[in-house]
Symmetry: C2
Subunit: 298 residues, 2 copies
């Protein structure tokens, strides 16, 4: 297992972590400047932040700083109620793939969607099994587009508390089942993003991380990304109360050890949504804290 205590070479900042400072939007290009100034080598930007900054301007700034991406957030939201919304989602996901290519991302992260309409407060139906079928179908279609662009897709299983409204893929086992169906040959085009916040509780996590690894035959690993933050007790909001590494109950280093045991040597990407705390701080202070905690708690 790599020693992270001496430097922050393998730290990446998901830009949602600092999307606000002192409660107001922090523009993406300024975030990139602040990361580069601290020797942070990688980021994972969100599409809405890229759109606000401009795709080409973002690509140029990344290049200027020599910043890599650890992933691009995000595609997905595959569930639909009619042919028009299905097509609109597919078109939008193709644009996300193109953006990921422009930015040089190693993968497009997929948040697959829940019951259609639930995110707006009114689910169109209660058929989660049907939603899951739509997700598999949607990933299958996008996989053709992704292969054509040589852009890997990383399915991110979300915590079961988001099953209704954000993602009906909720365990690593389930995500890997989908991978096995759609990419049995382990081509490298389809894999998973491991987010400790979503998966830390799972009694089968170690076993399933091993399943995602290359295996004895030396196939391609499905482990495309590692996201870190922490689970606070109490957690006061289902979406925007994630903790800084070390402030909660997740044994992050243990999980990273499982991932690295499968050969993962990529970035450890900090992704924190924290409306009441971190988004109220100075952005530079948050980045400095990420660096310190990455060394000590990841």
């Amino acid at each position: 297992m790599r020693d992270f205590s001496q430097d922050h070479r393998w730290l990446s900042i998901n830009t949602a972590t600092v999307r606000k400072q002192r409660g107001a939007d922090w523009p993406l290009l300024q975030i990139l400047d602040a990361c580069a100034a601290r020797g942070i080598r990688a980021v994972a930007p969100w599409r809405d932040q890229v759109a606000a900054a401009g795709l080409q301007a973002t690509a140029q700034r990344l290049k200027t700083h020599g910043l890599e991406l650890s992933g691009y957030c995000r595609g997905g939201m595959f569930t639909y109620t009619d042919a028009a919304s299905r097509q609109a989602t597919r078109d939008d996901n193709r644009r996300a793939l193109d953006e990921a290519c422009t930015l040089g991302a190693p993968c497009l992260v997929l948040v697959v969607g829940g019951l259609p309409g639930a995110l707006g407060g009114k689910a169109a139906h209660r058929d989660i099994a049907g939603a899951r079928e739509q997700v598999t179908e949607g990933i299958a279609a996008l996989l053709d587009d992704a292969r054509a662009r040589r852009m890997p897709l990383a399915i991110e299983p979300l915590h079961p508390m988001y099953a209704a409204d954000r993602a009906c893929i909720n365990t690593l086992e389930q995500a890997l089942d989908v991978c096995d169906v759609l990419d049995a040959q382990r081509s490298g085009a389809l894999g998973v993003a491991i987010d400790v916040y979503h998966l830390w509780w799972d009694p089968k996590l170690q076993e399933q991380i091993a399943r995602a690894g290359p295996g004895p035959a030396g196939q391609r690993s499905r482990l495309l990304a590692l996201h870190v933050c922490d689970w606070l007790t109490p957690t006061t909001d289902l979406l925007n109360d994630r903790g800084m590494m070390g402030d909660g109950v997740i044994d992050i280093a243990r999980i990273r050890g499982w991932v690295e045991a499968q050969g993962y040597r990529g970035y450890s990407e900090v992704e924190i949504f924290s409306a009441a705390h971190w988004w109220q701080q100075e952005g530079g202070v948050v980045l400095d804290t990420c660096i310190e905690r990455h060394r000590r708690c990841v």
Copy 2:
């Protein structure tokens, strides 16, 4: 599958559902009176409510009304940091068993505990695997006491969002694994409580419910209780924002169908924690709503 649309014979009220009315505690004996007045045949009382009303007074009132129990809430909280707290928990669980016997409960429901200290906001450690070992050990010890009293234990897997602070058994598969270790012979002394709120999201739920059933050899089923309520979108509080059946996204009838396909013929127990809504209403109105929704949405 039984037809619930014509009457409420198989409705049970978990007394947490009406623990408050208009924001103030509703005494348990009054709750029992209100249930009996509506032809409700069963309840599942909480220990703190029984303690406040008096154990003997509660037993007497149940008898007066001919009310059955669908379960007794709750034992568990097995995780510990020292020998003294471990012993105190075991003693307390023995008392819970005795109370369950006095009240004529069909089972003692177990909420197994999370990381020690986490419920108070400060977890003693981050070793969830270790906590799970303590839980298995605690259930094993209590099982001896339970067998001596002929009082079945029902492990209730809680939603993964409670893994840190309330219960580190979070899927039905995991609960059944514990059952298989501790009661391989399926004696009937150990089983599970299925709560749709905790388990609805699980892609393996149908399969694991079938596993809990009697099987082709006709062994004892592990399905000891069925709890119902609903998952709201959005959910605004991790603990006390459960919905009334029909107000959320859970296909309750589908899950009940899976449970009944395994021979379950017990009560459907309504357990709703709702600080902002139902606990602010008149208790009788809540009970009437439970009756109506039980017929229409369960």
